[in-house]
Symmetry: C2
DNA sequence: TTGGTGACTAAAAACAACAATAGTCACACG
DNA sequence: CGTGTGACTATTGTTGTTTTTAGTCACCAA
Protein backbone atom coordinates (compact mmCIF):
# COMPACT_ATOMS: atom_id res chain seq x y z
CA UNK A 1 0.00 0.00 0.00
CA UNK A 2 2.77 2.41 0.94
CA UNK A 3 4.78 1.55 -2.14
CA UNK A 4 1.66 1.87 -4.26
CA UNK A 5 0.95 5.32 -2.82
CA UNK A 6 4.50 6.38 -3.61
CA UNK A 7 4.59 5.01 -7.11
CA UNK A 8 1.07 5.98 -8.19
CA UNK A 9 1.60 9.47 -6.80
CA UNK A 10 4.92 9.84 -8.53
CA UNK A 11 4.55 8.11 -11.87
CA UNK A 12 0.79 7.74 -12.20
CA UNK A 13 -1.43 4.69 -12.27
CA UNK A 14 -0.76 3.67 -15.86
CA UNK A 15 2.98 4.15 -15.73
CA UNK A 16 3.60 1.99 -12.68
CA UNK A 17 3.54 -1.73 -13.26
CA UNK A 18 2.63 -4.32 -10.71
CA UNK A 19 6.19 -5.61 -11.08
CA UNK A 20 7.49 -2.18 -10.04
CA UNK A 21 5.44 -2.39 -6.88
CA UNK A 22 6.68 -5.92 -6.24
CA UNK A 23 10.27 -4.87 -6.71
CA UNK A 24 9.81 -1.91 -4.37
CA UNK A 25 8.74 -4.14 -1.50
CA UNK A 26 11.16 -6.93 -2.35
CA UNK A 27 8.62 -9.57 -3.26
CA UNK A 28 7.50 -11.17 -6.46
CA UNK A 29 4.57 -9.88 -8.50
CA UNK A 30 2.68 -13.12 -7.95
CA UNK A 31 2.73 -12.57 -4.22
CA UNK A 32 0.94 -9.26 -4.56
CA UNK A 33 -1.95 -11.09 -6.16
CA UNK A 34 -2.41 -12.99 -2.92
CA UNK A 35 -3.56 -9.73 -1.35
CA UNK A 36 -5.18 -7.87 -4.24
CA UNK A 37 -7.45 -9.34 -6.88
CA UNK A 38 -6.20 -7.02 -9.58
CA UNK A 39 -4.21 -3.90 -10.28
CA UNK A 40 -7.50 -2.01 -10.23
CA UNK A 41 -8.07 -3.25 -6.68
CA UNK A 42 -4.76 -1.67 -5.68
CA UNK A 43 -5.83 1.51 -7.44
CA UNK A 44 -9.13 1.52 -5.58
CA UNK A 45 -7.38 1.02 -2.29
CA UNK A 46 -5.13 4.02 -2.69
CA UNK A 47 -8.01 5.98 -4.21
CA UNK A 48 -10.02 5.23 -1.08
CA UNK A 49 -7.13 6.45 1.03
CA UNK A 50 -6.92 9.67 -0.95
CA UNK A 51 -10.64 10.35 -0.79
CA UNK A 52 -10.78 9.47 2.87
CA UNK A 53 -8.27 12.26 3.52
CA UNK A 54 -10.77 14.68 2.00
CA UNK A 55 -13.60 13.32 4.10
CA UNK A 56 -11.46 13.63 7.23
CA UNK A 57 -10.66 17.26 6.42
CA UNK A 58 -14.36 17.92 5.93
CA UNK A 59 -15.28 16.19 9.17
CA UNK A 60 -12.73 18.26 11.06
CA UNK A 61 -14.01 21.45 9.49
CA UNK A 62 -17.55 20.55 10.49
CA UNK A 63 -16.51 19.60 14.01
CA UNK A 64 -14.72 22.94 14.35
CA UNK A 65 -17.88 24.95 13.79
CA UNK A 66 -20.62 25.59 16.29
CA UNK A 67 -23.82 26.43 14.43
CA UNK A 68 -25.23 24.21 11.65
CA UNK A 69 -25.12 27.22 9.33
CA UNK A 70 -21.43 27.60 9.93
CA UNK A 71 -20.94 23.85 9.68
CA UNK A 72 -22.48 23.84 6.24
CA UNK A 73 -20.39 26.77 5.07
CA UNK A 74 -17.16 25.20 6.26
CA UNK A 75 -18.10 21.81 4.95
CA UNK A 76 -18.65 23.10 1.44
CA UNK A 77 -15.61 25.33 1.47
CA UNK A 78 -13.29 22.65 2.81
CA UNK A 79 -14.60 20.11 0.36
CA UNK A 80 -13.78 22.31 -2.60
CA UNK A 81 -10.48 23.51 -1.18
CA UNK A 82 -9.07 20.07 -0.36
CA UNK A 83 -10.28 18.73 -3.66
CA UNK A 84 -8.56 21.55 -5.54
CA UNK A 85 -5.45 21.14 -3.44
CA UNK A 86 -5.36 17.48 -4.37
CA UNK A 87 -5.63 18.47 -8.01
CA UNK A 88 -2.77 20.95 -7.84
CA UNK A 89 -0.44 19.17 -5.42
CA UNK A 90 -0.99 15.49 -6.13
CA UNK A 91 -2.15 15.53 -9.68
CA UNK A 92 -1.37 11.88 -10.26
CA UNK A 93 -3.47 10.80 -7.30
CA UNK A 94 -6.21 13.16 -8.37
CA UNK A 95 -6.26 11.54 -11.80
CA UNK A 96 -6.84 8.16 -10.23
CA UNK A 97 -9.71 9.55 -8.20
CA UNK A 98 -11.21 11.18 -11.29
CA UNK A 99 -10.85 7.97 -13.23
CA UNK A 100 -12.43 6.11 -10.34
CA UNK A 101 -15.41 8.45 -10.34
CA UNK A 102 -15.69 8.20 -14.11
CA UNK A 103 -15.83 4.42 -14.00
CA UNK A 104 -18.14 4.34 -11.02
CA UNK A 105 -15.72 2.37 -8.87
CA UNK A 106 -16.92 1.52 -5.37
CA UNK A 107 -14.25 3.77 -3.82
CA UNK A 108 -15.69 6.86 -5.49
CA UNK A 109 -19.26 5.86 -4.75
CA UNK A 110 -18.42 5.38 -1.11
CA UNK A 111 -16.85 8.82 -0.99
CA UNK A 112 -19.97 10.50 -2.37
CA UNK A 113 -22.02 8.52 0.07
CA UNK A 114 -19.91 9.65 3.02
CA UNK A 115 -20.18 13.29 1.99
CA UNK A 116 -23.91 12.88 1.70
CA UNK A 117 -24.09 11.41 5.19
CA UNK A 118 -22.19 14.31 6.67
CA UNK A 119 -24.48 16.69 4.85
CA UNK A 120 -27.55 14.87 6.13
CA UNK A 121 -26.28 15.13 9.66
CA UNK A 122 -25.65 18.87 9.36
CA UNK A 123 -29.10 19.48 7.93
CA UNK A 124 -30.76 17.30 10.55
CA UNK A 125 -29.03 19.16 13.33
CA UNK A 126 -29.94 22.49 11.76
CA UNK A 127 -33.57 21.47 11.70
CA UNK A 128 -33.51 20.26 15.27
CA UNK A 129 -32.06 23.54 16.46
CA UNK A 130 -34.68 25.45 14.50
CA UNK A 131 -32.07 27.06 12.31
CA UNK A 132 -33.36 25.43 9.12
CA UNK A 133 -36.89 25.10 7.78
CA UNK A 134 -38.71 21.81 8.39
CA UNK A 135 -41.50 21.81 5.82
CA UNK A 136 -39.64 20.23 2.93
CA UNK A 137 -39.02 16.48 3.33
CA UNK A 138 -35.51 15.88 4.65
CA UNK A 139 -34.63 13.51 1.82
CA UNK A 140 -35.62 16.03 -0.79
CA UNK A 141 -33.64 18.83 0.81
CA UNK A 142 -30.55 16.70 1.20
CA UNK A 143 -30.77 15.36 -2.32
CA UNK A 144 -31.12 18.82 -3.85
CA UNK A 145 -28.21 20.23 -1.87
CA UNK A 146 -26.22 17.16 -2.76
CA UNK A 147 -26.82 17.94 -6.41
CA UNK A 148 -25.62 21.49 -5.83
CA UNK A 149 -22.42 20.25 -4.22
CA UNK A 150 -21.80 17.47 -6.73
CA UNK A 151 -19.56 19.59 -9.01
CA UNK A 152 -17.18 19.98 -6.07
CA UNK A 153 -17.59 16.51 -4.57
CA UNK A 154 -16.88 14.36 -7.58
CA UNK A 155 -13.25 14.55 -8.72
CA UNK A 156 -14.55 13.91 -12.19
CA UNK A 157 -16.55 17.14 -12.16
CA UNK A 158 -14.27 19.22 -9.97
CA UNK A 159 -11.65 19.53 -12.67
CA UNK A 160 -14.11 21.48 -14.80
CA UNK A 161 -14.97 23.81 -11.95
CA UNK A 162 -11.53 24.79 -10.76
CA UNK A 163 -11.99 28.41 -11.78
CA UNK A 164 -15.05 28.67 -9.56
CA UNK A 165 -13.45 26.88 -6.65
CA UNK A 166 -12.71 30.10 -4.78
CA UNK A 167 -15.99 31.95 -5.04
CA UNK A 168 -18.38 29.19 -6.03
CA UNK A 169 -18.79 27.35 -2.74
CA UNK A 170 -19.28 30.58 -0.78
CA UNK A 171 -21.92 31.89 -3.14
CA UNK A 172 -23.64 28.55 -3.37
CA UNK A 173 -23.58 28.29 0.41
CA UNK A 174 -25.39 31.61 0.59
CA UNK A 175 -27.98 30.44 -1.88
CA UNK A 176 -28.51 27.11 -0.15
CA UNK A 177 -28.74 28.73 3.28
CA UNK A 178 -31.34 31.20 2.02
CA UNK A 179 -33.33 28.20 0.79
CA UNK A 180 -32.97 26.61 4.23
CA UNK A 181 -34.23 29.65 6.10
CA UNK A 182 -37.25 28.77 8.25
CA UNK B 1 -23.07 25.21 -43.64
CA UNK B 2 -25.86 22.82 -44.67
CA UNK B 3 -23.40 20.25 -45.92
CA UNK B 4 -21.32 20.67 -42.79
CA UNK B 5 -24.40 20.13 -40.60
CA UNK B 6 -25.22 16.96 -42.53
CA UNK B 7 -21.73 15.53 -42.51
CA UNK B 8 -20.79 16.47 -38.96
CA UNK B 9 -24.11 15.14 -37.70
CA UNK B 10 -23.72 11.90 -39.62
CA UNK B 11 -20.05 11.05 -39.48
CA UNK B 12 -18.79 13.29 -36.68
CA UNK B 13 -16.36 16.18 -36.72
CA UNK B 14 -13.15 14.15 -36.93
CA UNK B 15 -14.35 11.73 -39.56
CA UNK B 16 -15.47 14.34 -42.07
CA UNK B 17 -12.72 16.00 -44.02
CA UNK B 18 -12.85 19.47 -45.48
CA UNK B 19 -12.53 17.80 -48.87
CA UNK B 20 -15.72 15.85 -48.16
CA UNK B 21 -17.51 19.09 -47.51
CA UNK B 22 -16.07 20.61 -50.68
CA UNK B 23 -17.14 17.64 -52.75
CA UNK B 24 -20.63 17.76 -51.25
CA UNK B 25 -21.19 21.31 -52.46
CA UNK B 26 -19.32 20.87 -55.72
CA UNK B 27 -16.43 23.22 -55.02
CA UNK B 28 -12.79 22.77 -54.23
CA UNK B 29 -11.44 22.57 -50.74
CA UNK B 30 -9.41 25.76 -51.24
CA UNK B 31 -12.57 27.71 -51.94
CA UNK B 32 -14.03 26.82 -48.57
CA UNK B 33 -11.07 28.51 -46.96
CA UNK B 34 -12.21 31.78 -48.55
CA UNK B 35 -15.19 31.68 -46.21
CA UNK B 36 -13.85 29.91 -43.15
CA UNK B 37 -10.47 30.43 -41.55
CA UNK B 38 -10.13 26.84 -40.46
CA UNK B 39 -11.98 23.59 -40.02
CA UNK B 40 -12.49 24.58 -36.41
CA UNK B 41 -14.27 27.70 -37.59
CA UNK B 42 -16.71 25.51 -39.49
CA UNK B 43 -17.13 23.40 -36.39
CA UNK B 44 -17.83 26.46 -34.31
CA UNK B 45 -20.39 27.67 -36.80
CA UNK B 46 -22.42 24.50 -36.71
CA UNK B 47 -21.86 24.25 -32.96
CA UNK B 48 -23.37 27.71 -32.63
CA UNK B 49 -26.31 26.60 -34.70
CA UNK B 50 -26.83 23.56 -32.48
CA UNK B 51 -26.61 25.52 -29.25
CA UNK B 52 -28.85 28.25 -30.60
CA UNK B 53 -31.55 25.63 -31.07
CA UNK B 54 -31.37 24.95 -27.35
CA UNK B 55 -31.55 28.61 -26.50
CA UNK B 56 -34.57 29.01 -28.77
CA UNK B 57 -36.33 26.12 -27.06
CA UNK B 58 -35.59 27.70 -23.69
CA UNK B 59 -36.83 31.10 -24.83
CA UNK B 60 -40.06 29.56 -26.06
CA UNK B 61 -40.54 27.71 -22.80
CA UNK B 62 -40.02 30.92 -20.86
CA UNK B 63 -42.34 32.86 -23.12
CA UNK B 64 -45.01 30.20 -22.64
CA UNK B 65 -45.14 30.71 -18.88
CA UNK B 66 -46.89 33.50 -17.02
CA UNK B 67 -45.29 33.89 -13.60
CA UNK B 68 -41.53 34.25 -13.11
CA UNK B 69 -41.61 31.22 -10.83
CA UNK B 70 -43.08 29.15 -13.60
CA UNK B 71 -40.70 30.70 -16.10
CA UNK B 72 -37.75 29.62 -14.05
CA UNK B 73 -39.08 26.10 -13.65
CA UNK B 74 -39.69 25.69 -17.34
CA UNK B 75 -36.43 27.29 -18.27
CA UNK B 76 -34.43 24.86 -16.20
CA UNK B 77 -36.45 21.84 -17.24
CA UNK B 78 -36.34 22.68 -20.94
CA UNK B 79 -32.64 23.37 -20.80
CA UNK B 80 -31.88 19.95 -19.38
CA UNK B 81 -34.41 18.17 -21.59
CA UNK B 82 -33.23 19.66 -24.88
CA UNK B 83 -29.63 19.12 -23.91
CA UNK B 84 -30.29 15.48 -23.10
CA UNK B 85 -32.28 15.07 -26.27
CA UNK B 86 -29.34 16.42 -28.24
CA UNK B 87 -27.15 13.88 -26.51
CA UNK B 88 -29.40 10.94 -27.32
CA UNK B 89 -30.64 11.94 -30.76
CA UNK B 90 -27.73 13.80 -32.32
CA UNK B 91 -24.82 12.38 -30.48
CA UNK B 92 -22.30 13.52 -33.08
CA UNK B 93 -23.44 17.13 -32.84
CA UNK B 94 -23.50 16.87 -29.09
CA UNK B 95 -19.90 15.72 -29.10
CA UNK B 96 -18.89 18.81 -31.04
CA UNK B 97 -20.68 20.99 -28.53
CA UNK B 98 -19.00 19.19 -25.64
CA UNK B 99 -15.63 19.55 -27.28
CA UNK B 100 -16.37 23.20 -27.89
CA UNK B 101 -17.18 23.74 -24.23
CA UNK B 102 -14.11 21.82 -23.20
CA UNK B 103 -11.83 23.98 -25.31
CA UNK B 104 -13.58 27.19 -24.35
CA UNK B 105 -14.50 28.06 -27.91
CA UNK B 106 -16.42 31.30 -28.37
CA UNK B 107 -19.51 29.41 -29.54
CA UNK B 108 -19.83 27.65 -26.19
CA UNK B 109 -19.02 30.78 -24.21
CA UNK B 110 -21.70 32.68 -26.09
CA UNK B 111 -24.22 29.98 -25.31
CA UNK B 112 -23.55 30.12 -21.58
CA UNK B 113 -23.77 33.89 -21.78
CA UNK B 114 -27.17 33.73 -23.51
CA UNK B 115 -28.55 31.36 -20.92
CA UNK B 116 -27.30 33.65 -18.21
CA UNK B 117 -29.02 36.61 -19.82
CA UNK B 118 -32.33 34.79 -19.98
CA UNK B 119 -31.91 33.82 -16.34
CA UNK B 120 -31.13 37.41 -15.38
CA UNK B 121 -34.26 38.58 -17.12
CA UNK B 122 -36.43 36.03 -15.33
CA UNK B 123 -35.00 36.93 -11.93
CA UNK B 124 -35.32 40.65 -12.62
CA UNK B 125 -38.96 40.26 -13.56
CA UNK B 126 -39.60 38.11 -10.53
CA UNK B 127 -38.16 40.82 -8.32
CA UNK B 128 -40.18 43.52 -9.99
CA UNK B 129 -43.37 41.60 -9.49
CA UNK B 130 -42.49 41.01 -5.86
CA UNK B 131 -42.35 37.27 -6.36
CA UNK B 132 -38.66 37.04 -5.48
CA UNK B 133 -36.66 38.56 -2.62
CA UNK B 134 -34.76 41.77 -3.33
CA UNK B 135 -32.21 41.94 -0.53
CA UNK B 136 -29.41 39.95 -2.15
CA UNK B 137 -27.58 41.81 -4.92
CA UNK B 138 -28.97 40.81 -8.30
CA UNK B 139 -25.54 39.86 -9.66
CA UNK B 140 -24.86 37.57 -6.76
CA UNK B 141 -28.20 35.83 -7.03
CA UNK B 142 -27.85 35.32 -10.74
CA UNK B 143 -24.32 34.10 -10.47
CA UNK B 144 -25.16 31.56 -7.79
CA UNK B 145 -28.15 30.22 -9.70
CA UNK B 146 -26.01 30.13 -12.80
CA UNK B 147 -23.57 27.91 -10.95
CA UNK B 148 -26.42 25.63 -9.93
CA UNK B 149 -27.58 25.31 -13.53
CA UNK B 150 -24.11 24.93 -15.02
CA UNK B 151 -24.11 21.12 -14.90
CA UNK B 152 -27.11 21.19 -17.24
CA UNK B 153 -26.05 24.18 -19.34
CA UNK B 154 -22.60 23.12 -20.40
CA UNK B 155 -22.60 20.14 -22.76
CA UNK B 156 -19.28 19.22 -21.24
CA UNK B 157 -20.86 18.71 -17.82
CA UNK B 158 -24.28 17.54 -18.91
CA UNK B 159 -22.95 14.19 -20.06
CA UNK B 160 -22.00 13.37 -16.48
CA UNK B 161 -25.42 14.33 -15.18
CA UNK B 162 -27.63 12.42 -17.56
CA UNK B 163 -28.94 10.17 -14.82
CA UNK B 164 -30.18 13.19 -12.87
CA UNK B 165 -31.65 14.90 -15.92
CA UNK B 166 -35.21 13.86 -15.07
CA UNK B 167 -35.44 14.69 -11.40
CA UNK B 168 -32.50 17.02 -10.92
CA UNK B 169 -33.80 20.19 -12.51
CA UNK B 170 -37.15 19.91 -10.74
CA UNK B 171 -35.57 19.42 -7.35
CA UNK B 172 -33.00 22.12 -7.92
CA UNK B 173 -35.76 24.44 -9.09
CA UNK B 174 -37.53 23.89 -5.80
CA UNK B 175 -34.37 24.62 -3.86
CA UNK B 176 -33.58 27.74 -5.85
CA UNK B 177 -37.13 29.01 -5.62
CA UNK B 178 -37.13 28.54 -1.85
CA UNK B 179 -33.97 30.62 -1.76
CA UNK B 180 -35.69 33.28 -3.85
CA UNK B 181 -38.70 33.53 -1.57
CA UNK B 182 -39.18 37.09 -0.32
C1' DT C 1 -0.15 -25.65 5.78
C1' DT C 2 1.63 -21.06 5.16
C1' DG C 3 4.66 -18.00 2.70
C1' DG C 4 6.61 -17.39 -1.65
C1' DT C 5 8.17 -17.74 -6.69
C1' DG C 6 9.67 -18.33 -11.96
C1' DA C 7 7.77 -19.26 -16.08
C1' DC C 8 3.92 -18.74 -19.03
C1' DT C 9 -0.05 -16.52 -21.93
C1' DA C 10 -3.38 -13.43 -23.64
C1' DA C 11 -4.14 -8.70 -23.93
C1' DA C 12 -2.59 -4.20 -24.25
C1' DA C 13 0.81 -0.61 -24.95
C1' DA C 14 4.77 1.45 -27.76
C1' DC C 15 6.69 2.03 -31.83
C1' DA C 16 7.65 2.81 -36.73
C1' DA C 17 6.37 2.96 -41.44
C1' DC C 18 2.94 4.64 -44.07
C1' DA C 19 -1.30 7.17 -45.67
C1' DA C 20 -4.57 10.89 -45.19
C1' DT C 21 -5.58 15.56 -44.11
C1' DA C 22 -5.54 20.66 -42.84
C1' DG C 23 -4.04 24.51 -44.62
C1' DT C 24 -1.35 27.49 -48.28
C1' DC C 25 -0.27 29.60 -52.63
C1' DA C 26 0.59 30.70 -57.20
C1' DC C 27 -2.12 30.83 -60.86
C1' DA C 28 -6.17 30.24 -64.36
C1' DC C 29 -10.57 31.94 -66.22
C1' DG C 30 -14.23 35.28 -67.45
C1' DC D 1 -10.75 42.05 -60.19
C1' DG D 2 -13.75 38.47 -58.40
C1' DT D 3 -14.47 33.53 -58.56
C1' DG D 4 -12.30 29.36 -58.34
C1' DT D 5 -8.60 25.61 -58.41
C1' DG D 6 -4.62 21.87 -58.65
C1' DA D 7 -0.60 20.89 -56.66
C1' DC D 8 2.30 21.13 -52.63
C1' DT D 9 3.89 20.47 -47.53
C1' DA D 10 3.94 19.90 -42.68
C1' DT D 11 1.25 17.57 -39.51
C1' DT D 12 -1.77 14.39 -37.97
C1' DG D 13 -3.94 9.68 -38.07
C1' DT D 14 -3.85 4.89 -39.22
C1' DT D 15 -2.06 0.32 -39.57
C1' DG D 16 0.56 -3.54 -38.74
C1' DT D 17 4.48 -5.28 -35.81
C1' DT D 18 7.07 -5.89 -31.73
C1' DT D 19 7.43 -5.21 -26.56
C1' DT D 20 5.30 -4.81 -22.13
C1' DT D 21 2.30 -5.98 -18.87
C1' DA D 22 -1.67 -7.97 -16.11
C1' DG D 23 -2.89 -11.98 -14.40
C1' DT D 24 -2.44 -17.37 -13.65
C1' DC D 25 -0.55 -21.65 -12.18
C1' DA D 26 2.13 -25.36 -10.93
C1' DC D 27 5.43 -25.83 -7.79
C1' DC D 28 9.18 -25.01 -3.97
C1' DA D 29 10.63 -24.38 1.01
C1' DA D 30 9.89 -24.08 5.87
Amino acid sequence: MEAAGEHFGHYGYDKTTVSDLAKAIGFSKAYIYKFFDSKQAIGEAICSKTLTAIVVAVEEAVAGATTPTEKFRRMFKTLAATGASLFFNDRKLYDIAAHSAGEGWPSARAHCERIRQILTEVIREGREKGEFERKTPLDETVHAIDLVMQPYVSPLLLQYNLDAVEEGPAQLSNLVLRSLAP
